[in-house]
């Protein structure tokens, strides 16, 4: 039982991180109809920027405090993501308005290649560490309930908390600020939003920037767990089933879908994996999403697709 709960918790933590990446996808898809394959590359790029800045900044400024160094590095990396968002809107999206979905998807694949190359050209292709001072020690919970208790890595708990905080902050931003309302208006109806004076190009920059920030946070968390390396880009591929499970256009869907996929992956790997040779994590999530879509084609919370001739 304790082992089951451990696995479940591990799945939830992983799911939280998937949700973060998935959130970036959903934000961009809602606001601009672009299926952003570059999200994984953005995670890597942001993490690389963060890792290098957190090494360079204290060196340049002679800072002693690690916290301050990390903070400045984070802000700088955020600025880099803003420039990136602006450039993408300016150079790519603006010229591809009204193209088909698959063309836009291909364009983001092009951006993926570009970012992969650019990130490694600027920041180098070694494996970097990000140390944001998250505790690495495992702790035991519920020791009086189960024998031996439940082993939980504190790092995961912190990561999940950060992710939850970010999600909360985002939903506040969407609900309470005027920019957030403008974003939701654009997501609902491009033309109506334009007609009341919302600038689409500005909204796109903001949305890509917000997606960039979620990529940055995801990159920092994954990076401090696994090291910043090229394989971070595969995180995006792990997050894809999440969004189709949750619905391409739904923010809560991304979060709940992430949790389901995270738990499903871990449980299947532990309880099903040994029978079929292991390593089934990667396709199990896709199969889960696929089977689910057969019954509900728009995902858990997606808008119902109505076709008219």
């Amino acid at each position: 039982m304790a082992f089951f709960i451990e696995t479940l918790l591990g799945g939830l933590m992983a799911g939280m991180l998937y949700s973060l990446v998935a959130l970036g996808f959903v934000l961009i898809f809602k606001a601009s109809g672009v299926f952003n394959f570059a999200q994984g590359a953005m995670v890597l790029f942001a993490a690389l920027a963060m890792a290098r800045f957190s090494a360079w900044v204290p060196e340049l400024l002679g800072l002693e405090s690690k916290f301050l160094g990390n903070l400045i590095a984070f802000v700088l990396a955020g600025a880099v993501m803003f420039v990136l968002a602006w450039l993408i809107e300016r150079l790519v999206l603006r010229h591809l308005v009204n193209q088909e979905g698959v063309t836009l998807l291909m364009a983001t694949l092009g951006i993926t290649y570009f970012l992969d190359g650019l990130g490694q050209t600027i920041f180098g292709s070694n494996i970097y560490q990000i140390d944001v001072g998250m505790p690495k020690d495992p702790v035991f919970l519920f020791e009086n309930v189960f024998q031996g208790g439940v082993l939980v890595s504190l790092e995961d708990v912190y990561a999940a908390c950060v992710a939850a905080l970010l999600v909360a902050a985002l939903s506040l931003f969407f609900q309470k600020t005027s920019t957030g309302r403008a974003l939701r208006a654009v997501a609902d109806d491009h033309q109506a939003a334009q007609s009341i004076g919302i600038k689409l190009s500005r909204i796109w920059v903001i949305v890509w920037f917000v997606a960039g920030i979620t990529a940055l946070v995801a990159g920092v968390i994954w990076g401090s767990k696994l090291g910043v390396q090229f394989s971070l880009t595969t995180v995006a591929l792990r997050a894809l089933p999440v969004i189709i499970l949750g619905g391409l256009t739904s923010v809560p869907g991304a979060i709940i879908g992430g949790l389901i996929i995270g738990v499903g992956e871990k449980l299947s790997e532990v309880y099903l994996g040994p029978f079929v040779g292991g390593g089934i994590e990667i396709w199990f999530a896709y199969m889960l999403a696929l089977v689910f879509l057969l019954f509900r084609p728009q995902g858990l919370f997606g808008e119902k697709i109505i076709d008219r001739v």
Binding site: F35, L91, V92, H95, L96, Q99, E100, G101, V102, T103, L105, M106, A107, L109, G110, I111, T112, Y113, F114, L115, D116, G117, L118, Q120, T121, S125, L237, L240, P241, I243, I244, L248, V276, G277, G278, G279, I280, I282, W283, Y286, M287, A289, L290, L293, L294, P297, Q298, G299, I305, D307, R308, V309
Partner: protein
């Protein structure tokens, strides 16, 4: 002046319905095929065959398969690499498990099994559309990657996980020099390209296009979506599977699942988009572009670097290659979203009026 159909009167239905109704087209294609079979082997050196021509032929073939599905039937698929893998491994297993199996039969068997897998993974397309479908086809990709890596039976339980074939021969013709390989692939490509060209203008091809343009409307006028979509998946994955078999047997010789990874799927989709969706001709253009571009950049960048006096390291070259490749893709999509095939048809229109455009 030279490219006009004036005066070419059709006197029978079969003449009116031939694949290339314009005589100039017909002669051009025949000349091209003849040149590819006879001229190219005389002119080209071994490196060209190995690095450019053979990959180009096989990727064109695979791209035709992808084009049937994506370009003609409108079902976006990111699982093409998986179907290639199925084709390659099924052909491999047929070849080694059945004594004296003819090479062509095993390649076609590979295509057959790819068809089966394609139909299975095409079933969601009946419920799921567009980008959702694109993501679900990734399930095929990851499942096949996993299956060929982990299930020993498929790889004949080789310890390293990589399989190899040698001794390719058909009817006493041993295929071992690059020229032989080139001719072998070319034969397949010509046959399949003509078949595909014919198929897409037949009744079933028109059904696919109706489904692509609007599936609800197509269903209303009596096209069965299930039959049309699944047949597109079947035909497409058959061609892709044969291409996969060729890629493994002829181009690589020995391979492991990474040869058919998700990058291969993306590459094939790139070929189709850049070449032009819904165009057999476009598949060739796209494949040529995708095969030649990295090689060109690889040669060109160090040369350009030495020109300005900067010594570019290999790692930097590969990163810059990535960047330029990505930027070119984006640039290309912006400039000509309908692909090289559109440029080709614009060129043909111009040529018709040339040199008196008014």
């Amino acid at each position: 002046m030279f490219y006009r159909e004036n005066g070419q009167f059709k006197t029978s239905y079969s003449a009116d319905q031939q694949i290339f109704p314009i005589a100039q087209d017909r002669w051009m294609i025949l000349a091209l095929i003849a040149f590819a079979f006879v001229g190219v082997p005389l002119l080209v050196d071994e490196y060209m065959f190995r690095a450019i021509l053979i990959p180009f032929l096989i990727l064109s073939l695979a791209a035709i398969g992808v084009n049937v599905l994506v370009g003609y039937c409108g079902q976006i698929s990111l699982g093409s690499g998986a179907f290639m893998a199925v084709g390659a491994y099924a052909a491999y297993n047929t070849q080694i498990r059945i004594e004296g199996m003819p090479l062509i039969v095993s390649l076609l068997t590979g295509g057959f099994f790819a068809t089966l897998v394609g139909i299975v993974f095409g079933v969601p397309s009946l419920r799921v559309k567009g980008l959702y479908l694109a993501v679900t086809t990734l399930a095929a990709q990851f499942f096949c990657d996993w299956a060929f890596l982990r299930i020993g039976w498929f790889t004949n339980n080789t310890a390293s996980g990589s399989v190899s074939v040698s001794n390719l021969h058909i009817l006493g013709w041993t295929i071992n020099t690059p020229v032989d390989k080139y001719l072998f692939c070319l034969g397949f490509l010509v046959v399949f390209a003509l078949l595909a060209k014919n198929l897409v203008r037949s009744a079933i091809g028109r059904e696919w296009m109706a489904i692509r343009d609007m599936d609800v409307a197509a269903a209303v006028i009596g096209i069965r979506p299930m039959y049309a979509k699944l047949s597109a998946f079947a035909v497409s994955s058959f061609i892709i599977g044969v291409a996969g078999g060729l890629w493994g047997f002829v181009h690589l010789g020995s391979w492991e699942p990474a040869a058919f990874s998700i990058d291969r799927s993306f590459q094939l989709l790139f070929i189709v988009i850049i070449g032009g969706m819904g165009s057999i001709m476009g598949s060739f253009f796209g494949a040529a572009f995708i095969v030649v571009l990295p090689i060109f950049l690889n040669q060109f960048l160090p040369w350009a670097g030495s020109l300005v006096g900067v010594d570019i390291s290999t790692a930097a070259v590969s990163h810059t290659e990535f960047m330029i490749f990505g930027a070119l893709i984006v640039w290309f999509l912006i400039v000509e979203p309908h692909g090289l095939a559109r440029l080709w048809s614009i060129g043909k229109q111009k040529l018709r009026l040339w040199p008196f455009p008014h």
